[in-house]
Every structure is written in structure tokens, then in C-alpha cells.
């Protein structure tokens, strides 16, 4: 081969040429940048949580992220994977999501348990990022809810709610310590509060229609309360209260194409239609749809939890089915179930259905035609 090199002209020597399959160029986007964008989208909701619940919320976020990162590194060490895997940012996202799913006042050990459930049981036993069929944060949330129901339903009022602001700041802002808050909670009356959904759950249902039925939920479902729910001034999990902040995050996610738009649309739409119908038939059984949309973890789930790319169907049609299924399950659990909130359960249940949904909602290739018996056209 004519390998002789002319004096001034340099030619490739060939020994450093890389062989690889086409294509030879790629996008600059990578998993890390995707995860960081997701974190960016979470920031408004996290900021709202700290605004409404103060230092305890910040602590919960800190613990969850710390434990998730540490546990991820430990697992990688044991499993012989490079610990640099943690750089992909998925553990950070899981940690933040987990924090958003916990009450604003949560003891560190609950955070640790949650991180264990999320990172190890929810993700790493299945092989790590991309392999887990269930949403790690939902696994942790459901596992904790079943195992530690009291800790997971220990709601404190948001800073805008309390009548006695001095008391409030003294207890919650100064003492960022669960045991102290617990003790304080026993002393100061009314320090814990109920979430709107648990109030709705505990309100006796009125099956027949009438004035009483229509007014059954008036205390928690009125224009003034809707506004409070919208900005996030209510009891609830750390990251789920502020619909406004979550919507901002959702817009970020959608604009970066990090979630499939079908999931939030069909999820929220189904919940609205379903609760609307039930409310129309039996107004005394459940509050109006707007109440359901604004309270609980629905918004958080619709934009951040259910849309997790790994555990939701990959095709658009599949995502729509997934969203509808989520909506129905959430409503059924909320209205008739034993738990006030059903989003985490419905996410796990629908996660289990994803392989079946994907079977149903396979893409049809361009120019697809049904295979016909061999015959010259």
C-alpha cells in the first residue's frame, strides 16, 4: 500500500483509527444532562416546600439526597460497578423525588429507610438505571406508608396556615428535630393538621342528593380554599402541595421533552372526568373535580412521578393508556378506598401493567401493511 509519506504532507497512520458502527456522530445530550434538567424542573416545587414548611423540609431534602447518593455508591462498590455511575444523576433525582413524597417533618431514619427502599429495592436489585420496572420513589413511598403509617401521615400546617405564628416558628423553624417536634405536638394543641384529602376521606358520605349532600364538602372545597391549594398553602407531603410550582416544573419538563405529554394530560383529564361524574351523580360522596386536581399528590405524580421515563410506556399511545389507567385507579382509591390518597399505589399498579400496555401499543412501522398470504400483488 502506498504508505510513503511525502515530505510536508502528513497522512493518517491508520493505527489510531477507531472502528465502529455507523453513525459516527452523536448528539451532545447525555443521561447526566437529562437528569440535571429534571432536577432543574424540580427546583420550583422544592423552593415552595422550603417556603411553606421551612427548615424541616430542607432537612428532609438533605437527608434523602444524601442517603440516596451514599447508598448508590455503596451498592456500586459491592456490585463491582464503577462508583462514577452515581454521576449520571439518577440517584439525585430519586432522592429529591423521595423527599417530595415525604411529610415535611420526617425523621432522618425514615429518610434512610426510604432511600434504602428506593435505591436498593426499587432500582439496584433490578440492575440499576433503566432496568427497574417500578418507580423507585413510589416503591419507597408505598413501602414506608405500609410500614410506618404514623410517620408518613404526620402533617404539619404550612407557615401560611397557623393562627399562632410565633408558636409555629418556635416549634418548626427553630427545632428541626423530629422528636422535639413530636413532643411539642403533644403539648401544643392543633399543631398537626389534616390534609384536605384526609378531611374528605373522614367526612361521612351522603349517598342521596339534596342540600346536605351538596354542602357536604363546602368547608374544604370553596373558591378561597382552591386558591390556597393552588399556591400550596395546605398540609401535605413536602413537594406535592404547591400546584403552581409543580406546573412551572412541568412546563420545564415538557419544553425539554423530558416527559411524554400524554401522561399528565390523560392522567389529569381522567381524574377530572371521573370525579366530575361521581360528583354529579352523588355530590355528597366526593368533592368536585377541581378539589381533586389541586389536592394531594396528583400534580406531583402527573408531572414528576408517573412520567419517569424508565417506568412509563415508551410509545405515545401507551402513555395515553397509562395515563387513563392511572386516573381511574387514583379516583377509585381516593373515593372508595381505605387510603385518602391513591397516587403512589396507582403508579405502582400501572407500572406493573406497562409491559402489557407496551405489547398493545406497539408502533406500526412506516408503510406497514398486514402480512398477506404470499401472492404477487
Amino acid at each position: 500500500m502506498s504508505e510513503e509519506i511525502k515530505k510536508e504532507i502528513m497522512l493518517p497512520k491508520g493505527e489510531e483509527l477507531v472502528l465502529s458502527s455507523s453513525p459516527h456522530i452523536h448528539v451532545t445530550e447525555n443521561i447526566q444532562s437529562i437528569m440535571l434538567k429534571v432536577v432543574l424542573a424540580m427546583l420550583p416545587a422544592l423552593a415552595a416546600a422550603i417556603w411553606f414548611f421551612g427548615i424541616p423540609a430542607l432537612l428532609v431534602i438533605f437527608w434523602c439526597v444524601l442517603f440516596c447518593l451514599v447508598l448508590e455508591i455503596i451498592w456500586c462498590r459491592i456490585a463491582g460497578k464503577p462508583a462514577s455511575v452515581v454521576k449520571d444523576g439518577s440517584a439525585l433525582v430519586t432522592g429529591l423525588l423521595l423527599a417530595m413524597n415525604l411529610p415535611p417533618v420526617t425523621a432522618w431514619w425514615v429518610c434512610l429507610l426510604g432511600a434504602l427502599l428506593a435505591i436498593w429495592l426499587g432500582k439496584q436489585v433490578f440492575g440499576g438505571l433503566g432496568q427497574n420496572p417500578f418507580n423507585p420513589a413510589a416503591v419507597a413511598r408505598v413501602g414506608l406508608l405500609i410500614a410506618l403509617p404514623r410517620q408518613l401521615t404526620y402533617w404539619i400546617p404550612s407557615s401560611g396556615m397557623t393562627a399562632d405564628a410565633a408558636n409555629y416558628s418556635e416549634v418548626f423553624y427553630a427545632a428541626a428535630d423530629f422528636t422535639k417536634i413530636e413532643q411539642a405536638g403533644q403539648v401544643i394543641d392543633g399543631i398537626t393538621c389534616a390534609t384536605p384529602l384526609s378531611i374528605a376521606q373522614n367526612t361521612p358520605k351522603i349517598l342521596d342528593s339534596g342540600v346536605a349532600a351538596a354542602d357536604n364538602f363546602a368547608a374544604i372545597a370553596n373558591p378561597e380554599s382552591y386558591w390556597q391549594y393552588f399556591i400550596g398553602n395546605m398540609g401535605g407531603s413536602l413537594g406535592e402541595t404547591s400546584t403552581l410550582a409543580i406546573l412551572i416544573g412541568g412546563i420545564i419538563l415538557l419544553s425539554f421533552k423530558l416527559i411524554r405529554w400524554q401522561i399528565p394530560l390523560f392522567y389529569l383529564g381522567t381524574v377530572a372526568v371521573f370525579t366530575g361524574l361521581i360528583h354529579l351523580i352523588w355530590p355528597g360522596v366526593t368533592p368536585p373535580p377541581l378539589f381533586h386536581l389541586l389536592t394531594g399528590g396528583l400534580m406531583l405524580a402527573a408531572f414528576f412521578m408517573a412520567t419517569d421515563m424508565v417506568t412509563s410506556p415508551i410509545t405515545g399511545r401507551g402513555a395515553a393508556i397509562f395515563g387513563i389507567g392511572l386516573g381511574v385507579m387514583t379516583c377509585v382509591i381516593r373515593i372508595w378506598g381505605g387510603f385518602p390518597e391513591g397516587v403512589s399505589f396507582s403508579i405502582l399498579l400501572m407500572n406493573a401493567l406497562v409491559p402489557l400496555i407496551e405489547r398493545m401499543a406497539k408502533l406500526k412501522p412506516f408503510g406497514f401493511r398486514k402480512p398477506t398470504p404470499a401472492k404477487g400483488a
Binding site: 500500500m1 502506498s2 504508505e3 511525502k6 510536508e8 504532507i9 502528513m10 497522512l11 493518517p12 497512520k13 491508520g14 489510531e16 483509527l17 477507531v18 472502528l19 465502529s20 458502527s21 455507523s22 453513525p23 459516527h24 456522530i25 452523536h26 448528539v27 445530550e29 447525555n30 443521561i31 444532562s33 437529562i34 449520571d88 439518577s90 440492575g127 440499576g128 438505571l129 433503566g130 432496568q131 423530558l258 411524554r260 421515563m309 424508565v310 412509563s312 415508551i314 410509545t315 407496551e358 406497539k362 408502533l363 406500526k364 412501522p365 412506516f366 408503510g367 406497514f368 401493511r369 404477487g376 400483488a377
Partner: protein, 451 residues
């Protein structure tokens, strides 16, 4: 950058899916006009240059050949002859590295420096001749699809009689990043391309002849639009989106017809030919010149002077690179073709073939390493796939070795355009996985047929 404005009458079309590489590298060579390479001392013409049966060599060591003389004759219908790039002496058959990495047979010709033409066939008055004469000439001049596949052109022009063809599309999309060869040909020789298009139309008995060009080649579009009427050829603009020039996508963009799975363009009444091919056809019919040289883009960041060169078949890549002043630094990759579908080479000993549309060197910093992190099911590949497949699922099936299941995901429809792997944030080797699946499935069907 005072680009020419797009003509308002231009119809702009596109297809669904695809990707748009931000850094398309065309800027390196799109202003460089076509230069003709000086005569070399030696050419190594690879024998098997077309899809189908490789031609049968008719010369032997020691023979004197003239430029354009037959070196190998067509061996069957799906095969074309091969001609000598210059006059000189046949040194014999040698093994040189082929484009696919395996050694391949080539005819080595020592140039005598005279560069004398052999006696060429007479010009054909194509406006008054019948289709078969044209097709015969196209075949005799060894013309194949010069865009990449190297499929014999006369075969495409002869669809089965029961299929009514009413569209001839000349593919000037050149959607591959970095490549500008077709662009320059269309800009500098618009008449040749248009006349070739008209000839191809006549050879296929088709009235509707259009040249489809991506609208990032405004100057070429305008140059052709001026002359298009005189050849009764239409010009269509296409959105800049990869793979706009893939056959099925091109047909859909221009005609809105979908080529069904496993069918040929002729099934929907279309024939697609490359713009470079059209120019070669014009030369073959008007002057009887066989396909012995082609315009190739030599480009990439490491190349000192990227440009578009008219190279003879059998020019070794190393010689071609010398024309461009060599390289600035050691490149990370040598690719024949474009960056999306081209083949990585291990040495510069490969020689230019009929379908070598580009010689691309990539800088080491541009060589993307496959860290191949796991799929996070983001769905980017589904959006990118012009064939509406699910590359992520296919790649996982390939990894798990579930080859039969891949058929349920229509793996055989893949056109290997590389859009999915380009878009994958996990940098998974999706195309390689899919090629593996296809190879396995082909093997299995072969075995079944044997049984």
C-alpha cells in the same frame, strides 16, 4: 453569509421523524468548487463495486488498456461492467483492503501517463431514442447508484411490467452531514443533472421527473430552477432533516406515497436515482463516457484543505488525501461515505469506488465513545426513527439474544439510517445491535429455506 433567497415558487416537503444534526460540517467544503485530480501513477480498481453479482474480469496481467476500456464485464442482470480509469498496463489482480474491512480483489493498473481514450460508443440522441437503447447504454457504461448503495441503475429502470411507474425522483437531498459532492455537481453542472434526469425519465417511460433538493443548497436549487423548464423537469425543495434522502422517506416527502414493508419503490410507481448518477447518465448517453470517475467530498476537521474532487475509480484514499494537503493532526476515524451511514476504515489503502460519495476524517475529539449506558427509555429514538420503529426495544432484545422476538418489532424494516443512535442520550450502539438482529434473522430464514 449572504445566502441566496429561496425561490417562492419552490414547494417544500418533508417526512415524519428524523433528526437534524446541529453541526453538519457542510460548511467545510460546500464553497470549494470541484477540482479534477491529476493523473496518478497507479490505480487499484476494486472489482466488486456494485450490489449484485460482481463483474467478471476480462483482462489479465500484462495487458495494455486504454482509458475507458472494459476491465470486467457484467455477470448477470443485476451487475454492471467496469472500465479502466486511465490508459496503461494491467499489473494483475491484487488484494487490497476493501471498504468493509475484509481484503478484496482489485485490478492494479500502472498508468502510462498518456491517458488515451479508447474508442467510445457514439452519442445517442436520447430525445428520439427508445427506452431500451437508453437502458442498454446506461448498463454498458457501468452506471450504478452513486449515493451509497451502488445498485445497478438499469435494474431500477426496468421494473416488472405489471408495475406502473409514473414518478422519477432525482435524489439531490444529500442529507448526510459533511458531504457536499452532489451539492457541487448540481451547482456547477445543473444542465448535466437535469439532462440526466430527463434521460432517466425517458428510459423509464415516466413523464413526471422531479429533482428533490434539501433547502440548505439554495444556490444549487436556483441554478437548476433556471434551466429546469428546458428539460421539463420539476424541482422540489425539502426540509433540512436527516434522512431526507432515504428512498422511502424521499418518496413519501415528494409524492405522499408510502412504500409498504418489504416492497420496492416501483410498487408505488416511483423510481429514485441519485443526482450524481443523473450527471453520469447524461455523460454516458451524450458522449458514451463510461463511469470511471466521480465527484467525492474529502472533508473533516483534520483535513488541511477540504474540498470536492473529481477522482478516478481506484484512487487510493491516501492519494486522495494528499490532494487535500494531508491532515493537520492524526484523525480519530476514517470514514467512507457520510458520518451517519458511512463505513469506518482501518487503513488508507482502500480505493475510491463508484459509490464513494465522501472521504471523511473525524477529529479524535469528535469520535464518540460508546460508553453504552443502559437504555433509560427516553423515547428519543422512537421520535427519530423515520420508519417508526422502536430501536430501544430492538437493542434490548439484541442484548438479551432474543432474536425471534425482534421480528415482532419489525426489525427488518430498519433502513439503518442511524438517526436513532445519533439521538440516543445513552450513546447506545443501536444500529450495530439492529444489524446483528437482521443478520441473525437472515441466517435463520436461510437455514429454514434450506430445510
Amino acid at each position: 453569509m449572504n445566502e441566496q433567497a429561496i425561490n417562492k415558487d419552490l414547494k417544500i416537503v418533508s417526512f415524519k421523524g428524523g433528526v437534524h444534526p446541529q453541526k453538519d460540517g457542510k460548511i467545510l467544503s460546500k464553497k470549494a468548487s470541484i477540482q479534477t485530480a491529476p493523473l496518478l501513477e497507479r490505480y487499484q480498481v476494486i472489482v466488486s463495486q456494485n450490489i449484485g453479482a460482481p463483474p467478471k474480469v476480462v483482462v489479465s496481467a500484462g495487458d495494455e488498456v486504454k482509458k475507458g476500456q472494459l476491465l470486467a464485464e457484467a455477470a448477470g442482470f443485476v451487475s454492471v461492467p467496469l472500465h479502466s480509469p486511465t490508459s496503461g498496463k494491467v499489473e494483475g489482480l491484487v488484494d487490497i483492503p476493501g471498504p468493509m474491512g475484509v481484503m478484496t480483489q482489485a485490478i492494479s493498473i500502472l498508468a502510462d501517463g498518456k491517458d488515451e481514450w479508447t474508442e467510445l460508443p457514439a452519442s445517442i440522441d436520447w430525445r428520439n431514442s427508445d427506452a431500451d437503447t437508453l437502458k442498454k447504454r446506461i448498463m454498458e457504461c457501468g452506471i450504478v447508484g452513486m449515493g451509497g448503495a451502488a445498485f445497478p441503475s438499469h435494474v431500477k429502470l426496468s421494473p416488472p411490467p405489471d408495475k406502473k411507474v409514473d414518478y422519477m425522483i432525482i435524489n439531490g437531498a444529500e442529507c448526510e452531514p459533511y458531504l457536499t459532492a452532489d451539492h457541487r455537481v448540481m451547482l456547477e453542472e445543473p444542465e448535466k443533472v437535469l439532462e440526466g434526469a430527463a434521460i432517466l425519465g425517458r428510459a423509464a417511460g415516466v413523464k413526471n421527473v422531479v429533482v428533490a433538493v434539501e433547502i440548505n443548497k439554495v444556490d444549487a436549487i436556483n441554478a437548476m430552477m433556471e434551466k429546469a423548464a428546458q428539460f421539463n423537469v420539476g424541482i422540489v425543495g425539502m426540509k433540512v432533516q436527516y434522512p431526507q434522502g432515504a428512498e422511502k422517506q424521499l418518496i413519501y416527502a415528494v409524492t405522499r406515497r408510502k412504500v409498504p414493508t418489504g416492497a420496492l419503490p416501483a410498487d408505488v410507481g416511483c423510481i429514485v436515482q441519485n443526482a450524481g448518477t443523473a450527471a453520469a447518465v447524461a455523460e454516458a448517453v451524450n458522449a458514451g463516457i463510461p463511469l470511471i470517475e466521480r465527484v467525492t467530498t474529502i472533508t473533516g476537521e483534520p483535513v488541511v484543505n477540504p474540498g470536492n474532487w473529481r477522482l478516478r475509480l481506484g484512487t487510493p484514499i491516501s492519494e486522495a488525501l494528499k490532494l487535500c494537503g494531508g491532515v493537520k493532526c492524526e484523525p480519530g476515524k476514517l470514514i467512507l461515505g457520510g458520518p451517519m451511514m458511512g463505513f469506518a476504515q482501518r487503513s488508507t489503502g482502500v480505493s475510491v469506488m463508484k459509490n464513494t460519495s465522501g472521504i471523511l476524517l473525524l477529529d479524535k475529539s469528535d469520535v464518540t465513545q460508546y460508553e453504552s449506558s443502559p437504555c433509560i427509555r427516553c423515547g428519543r429514538c422512537l421520535e427519530a426513527c423515520p420508519m417508526n420503529l422502536q430501536p430501544s426495544a430492538l437493542s434490548q432484545l439484541a442484548e438479551a439474544g432474543q432474536y425471534e422476538n425482534a421480528l415482532k418489532y419489525n426489525v427488518m424494516d430498519c433502513i439503518e439510517c442511524g438517526a436513532c443512535a445519533f439521538a440516543c442520550p445513552a450513546h447506545r450502539p443501536l444500529v450495530q445491535h439492529i444489524r446483528r438482529l437482521k443478520a441473525e434473522i437472515r441466517n435463520r430464514t436461510k437455514k429454514e429455506i434450506k430445510k
